[in-house]
Every structure is written in C-alpha cells, then in structure tokens.
Symmetry: C2
C-alpha cells in the first residue's frame, strides 16, 4: 500500500484539483509524486499558494485541458461545482470526494433533466475514507490515502471509461478501491461515521455544565469516546443534513436500545432485584462487544498480525520526533505507535507496530542510530 | 505524584488486600515497594499466588493484625466483604475501591442499623480512577495509580483517623487525592465513565448486523468511539445497576438531545431547507465541542491552551536541529513539538507549541530566519 513514486501513474493527462483543502491537496501531492501534471484551483488564493508551495502542483494556465477533474469542495456546494466543471471541460471525467454521495447525485440528475447539456456519462462520484484533525492544505500528506478505502460510486449513466479513470486516480493515490453504489455508501457512512459523530458529540455535550470535580475524574475512556466531538459544527451540520434519512435510521435504532437501558436502570432504581433489568444491561454491553469485534484493523484488512518493536525514548522534547524520523528513514512502514510513559520515570517506552517481516531490520536500523532497543 | 520508593510510607502497620485482581494487586505492589507489610487474600488461590509471585506481598498468617484492609472485590459483593472485614478485624480501618460508592454505603448503613455490631467509624470508601484493558493480577503495575485521581469518600460516621489512614494509603500508591462525598462521586462517574460506556456500546452494537462492506469503511474515529465497548458485560451490568439513578439521569438528558437530532434529520429528509433543522444540528455538534474542551489534559492538569506554530522543514539532515536552535534563539519557550512527516514528501511539518502570547513573535522570528511558516 505504500506510495511508490517509481511506479508509473495509471492516470493519463492533466488532473485539475478544485479545492485545495486537506483532501484535494493530499491527492494533488500523491499524483504529483507519480509525475502527473496537476493543476490547483481554489476560491482562496492563499490555500492555492500553500498547496503549490508544498509541491502539490501548479497554478492554472490559459491552455489547460484536464483529462480528470477532482472536486474537493464542501458538501453543500459540491453538486454545483461538479456541474460547472462538467460544462467547462467537455472532454474531462469529473469526480468528487464529498462524504455523502446520494444527495449530490440527485441534484446533478435533476439539473440534467431540467437544463439539459449536463453530460453525466463523465461523472463518477467517489469518497476516500481518510481524514485528519488538521484541516486545510497545511494538513495535507501525500500518503493520506495510502491503504485507506476509496469508495467509487459508479452510476448507471457513467461510461465504463469514466469509471476506469476514477478508479485509476484512486489507485494512483495509493488507496484501496471499494466499488459501492451511492445509496449503499450513504447507509454505510451513516453507520460507521455520521451516527458515531452524533453519539460522541452528545456524550461530550453532557460535560458542558458538569462540576469541575466531575470532569477532573475523566480518564482515557472518555477522551477516546469524545475525541471526534472536537469537530467543525458547520461542516458536520452539512454532512448530517446531506445524509439525513440514513443517519436518522441508525440513530432511531440506537434510541430503541437506549430506551431499554434507561427503562432497566429506572426499574433497578426502584427495585435492585428487578426481574430482567440486569439481563437487559448485559445484553447491551455484550451486543456492543460483538459489534466492536467486527471493526477491521487499522488499514482495512483483517486485524493485526503486526510485530511490535519496543524502543526506550528519553523524556526530552524532540526525542519522539527524532525517533519517528529515524523510523521513516529506515524504510519501515509504521502501522501504529503507542507511548508508555510512567510518570516520574526519565524514559518512556515507544511501541512501534510494523509488519513482521520489517521488524528485525527496523530494530537493527534503530540500534545503529543510537536507540536503545531492548531484546 | 511520583512513586519514590525512597520516600517513607505514610501507611503504618500491615495492609491486608482482599481481592488480588488488577486494582488490588497494583495497590499491593505500590505499597510493598514502599516497604509496607502487605497480606494478600483472594477467593482464587491462583490469583493470590500470581500476586505473591509478582512481589505484591505475602500470604496470610495466623497472627495477622492488619491496620488497614483494602477491599478490591467485584461491585456486587463489595458491601458484604467490607462488613465481614470490619467484623473480623476490630482495630482495622477498612476501605474499598469499587467504582460506585453510594449503594455499598447504603447497604452497610442498613446492615449496621439492622444487625448492630458494624462499626462504620472505621469505614471510608474510595475509588482510584485507574484501570487497564488487561485485567487480573497479571495486568497489575506498581505505578497504575501514579498521578491518577483517587477519590476518598468520607462519611459523617467515619472517624478523622480513619479518613487520614485511607488518604495516606492513596498517597502511598502515588495517586492524586480527591475528596468527594459518595453521592457526588456517583454522579460524576455516571457522567465521565458510566454513560459514555453505554453510548460506546450502543454505537458499537449497531455494527453487529452491518454489511461487511460497511464495516470495511470504518476509520479511526469509529475505533476511538467504540474502544471501551470491548468491556466485560457482566462486570458492567453490575456497575450500571449499582449506579442506576445517576446513569439514567445522564442518559435521559442525552436522549432529549438525541430526539432533537432525529427530529431535525427527519425534517430535513422531508424538506432539505427545513427551518431551524440545520441550526439544531450545529448546536449539538458545537455543544459537544464545548464539552470536549472541558476534559483535562492527559496528566490531569488543566488543559493548557498552547498556540501551535507550524513550520515547513526541508527533509534534510540537520534542518530540525537548526529549527530548534532558531526557536531557542527567538526566546520562545518550546512546550511541545510534533513532527508530521509524510512518506515521499520533500518536507515535513513541525508543529511547535508555545504559550499563546509568544506565538506571533516566534512566527516572525522564524520567517526572519528564512523558515516557511504558513499563515
């Protein structure tokens, strides 16, 4: 899954990236790295300039004739931008990377029926399942999509050539292709992304007016459950509104279980030996465990048979950064990293997960660079 | 907060640990490390033997006369075990570490009224906010409690000497003392631990019957939200049942917001421009962000609002060192540094945390020295 710049690009011709935020700039970096000619476009000249300075591509020219347009615009304007690009470049295949696929498609189809002149044989929506907490071009990474699922939502109208073009672009970004119709995609992301976002926000919202003493007892569990609650409200309102029915379906199913839990707790409040109440609680926690077990490992493949390399890291500023740089320089692909730090100890233990075949070489490389790697 | 074996123990006399699971054995290890005489007791001879072999203490003797008894038994039997220990050792102070404090206390008070002969001046319940995914004595660590909050829930009945004894024991385990009455404690953990556990389980439970394709799209957000869903159902049913009313209160408040979200989504399903619906969604996500902001930092201190200065660092040997030197020369006090390095990119991004007041000056100083600092 690693981006190998030496491999020839599958994408032929110029790629125009409209929207040089996190996703657009990351795709542009990956494509440029493969030698693809990438044109950058954004409503913000600053975002465009940063993307260019990061090496993501070039500014537009008069004689541009893109073969592919990648639209990475906010969800509420994506259909409009896709339509404009389809009309402006009559030979180009157009895709978008918005996190909801059904709504924009419906808007485009309505527009095609109404206005005519919108050639949907050249449109294939897509959605790379990647992101970071850091947004904008500054957060972009050439390997943001490496090994991550990239959904390609082919329509009935789309030409086989257009679908192949978008699939090639996803592969050139290092992603793992997932073919999935728009409706199925939207139900899936409601389940694995949109409803969990709502749940995390609802749990975190309870803390707003909590006593200081109570939030002072917070531990890692609460931090994990609520991490994604620190998200952009306006962007998320757009996403949820754009996928309203599937998200509501998931949340209604969740509410039915929540009602059961509340009923069981109230019954136990009245009578600590209330018949069936403990059973209802056991069932909900057990169901959660069963659901949790279905989540695949970090890169989408079957969970984990990684080897763990343990490194002693002095507790000084910059040491962890130096370690990460050295891991990168060794050529090993870091799958996961955990830091075990016991307070008051002058060192921490970094646990680095890599593919088993890479572990020994990584250990040798790190020892060579002066790190203590306990055997 | 640090465990310093050289510091003399505050705890005087023998400590009897009843229940050599994760918490009991960890406390025993910490106390033994300080030179305290620790006696281990468990219904499982195997758990007891493992704890002893780990160096957590010794087996009981005929002539034991403990000054303190630490009960680390499952929540549904903790009151019973505390009562038995109070009666068996008429001089000992008894504490427990169960995650719910009001219920066991009520049971003990009822029992004292009914049976007499139960001396609650010697009982002080407590709750160390620490844990690991690995349970049992094998998961025990001498520094499990280091720097973690340890709630001491003094009652009206408890003698000042008993309270002081339990506080001393918590300090000897390296914990940060938090004095909090039982009822307040139970409301706090309902908010920061029990309700989040239910929410995580409910989100994860939705995945049980999801199509493979859908769970294949899972990302880090879902993994974080549902991490604690992989918990022991029987244990959690006990905990939730033991704190029924406070957990139900939190979940009912959560359900009210959930109902608002579902109503907004259904309104948007009917009419994508439904009045007020997007506003309701924005509010819930924004409230979640505000709640999330209240969670203290990793080591329990107030969340320090550092400003982050981002600098583009060429991927060449010595550049990071030069950057750090330039940061130092600017006079800014570097609080933390992270390096974001994407494979195959010719640059890395250094994220430098400084006090907000220092950020602008640092950015100017770095630009002056030729660094690229994206605005």
């Amino acid at each position: 899954m690693t981006l190998d710049p030496a491999a020839p690009a599958r994408t032929l011709g110029t790629v125009r990236v409209v929207g040089t935020g996190l996703l657009g700039t990351s795709a542009a970096l990956a494509l440029t790295l493969r030698g693809v000619d990438v044109v950058l476009q954004d409503v913000s000249p600053t975002a465009m300039a940063i993307a260019r300075d990061l090496g993501a591509g070039r500014f537009p020219r008069e004689d541009d004739d893109p073969a592919v347009v990648l639209v990475a615009a906010p969800p509420d304007v994506v259909a409009e931008v896709v339509a404009a690009e389809l009309q402006r470049w009559p030979r180009a295949v157009v895709t978008d990377v918005a996190s909801v696929k059904g709504g924009p498609l419906q808007t485009l189809r309505d527009k095609a029926l109404r206005d005519g002149g919108l050639d949907l044989t050249r449109y294939v929506g897509s959605h790379p399942m990647a992101g970071r907490e850091r947004s904008g071009p500054v957060g972009a990474q050439a390997d943001l999509f490496a090994g991550r699922p990239w959904v390609v939502a082919a329509t009935e109208e789309a030409s086989a050539a257009a679908v192949a073009t978008v699939r090639a672009l996803a592969l050139d970004c290092g992603a793992a292709l997932v073919d999935m119709p728009a409706a199925e995609h939207d139900e899936a992301v409601a389940l694995v992304s949109h409803a969990p976002q709502v749940a995390a926000s609802l749990v975190a919202a309870r803390l707003r007016e909590a006593p200081d003493g109570a939030v002072g007892l917070a531990g890692q569990g609460l931090r994990d459950v609520t991490r994604i609650a620190a998200s952009d409200p306006a962007l998320w309102a757009q996403i949820l509104a754009g996928n309203a029915a599937p998200v509501a379906d998931v949340l209604e199913s969740l509410r039915a279980d929540l009602d059961d839990v509340i009923a069981a707790l109230r019954a136990l409040e009245q009578d600590p030996s209330a018949l069936g109440a403990r059973g209802a609680l056991v069932r909900v926690i057990a169901d959660g465990g069963a659901g949790r077990d279905r989540i695949p490992g970090k890169h989408g493949q079957a969970p984990t048979a990684y080897a763990t390399v343990v490194v002693v890291v002095p507790d000084r500023v910059g040491e962890l950064a130096r370690l990460l740089a050295d891991v990168g320089a060794s050529g090993a692909n870091l799958e996961d990293l955990r830091l075990e730090h016991s307070e008051g100890q002058p060192v921490a233990l970094a646990e680095i997960d890599v593919l088993p075949a890479a572990a020994e070489q990584l250990e040798d490389a790190l020892r060579e660079r002066g790190w203590t790697v306990p055997r």
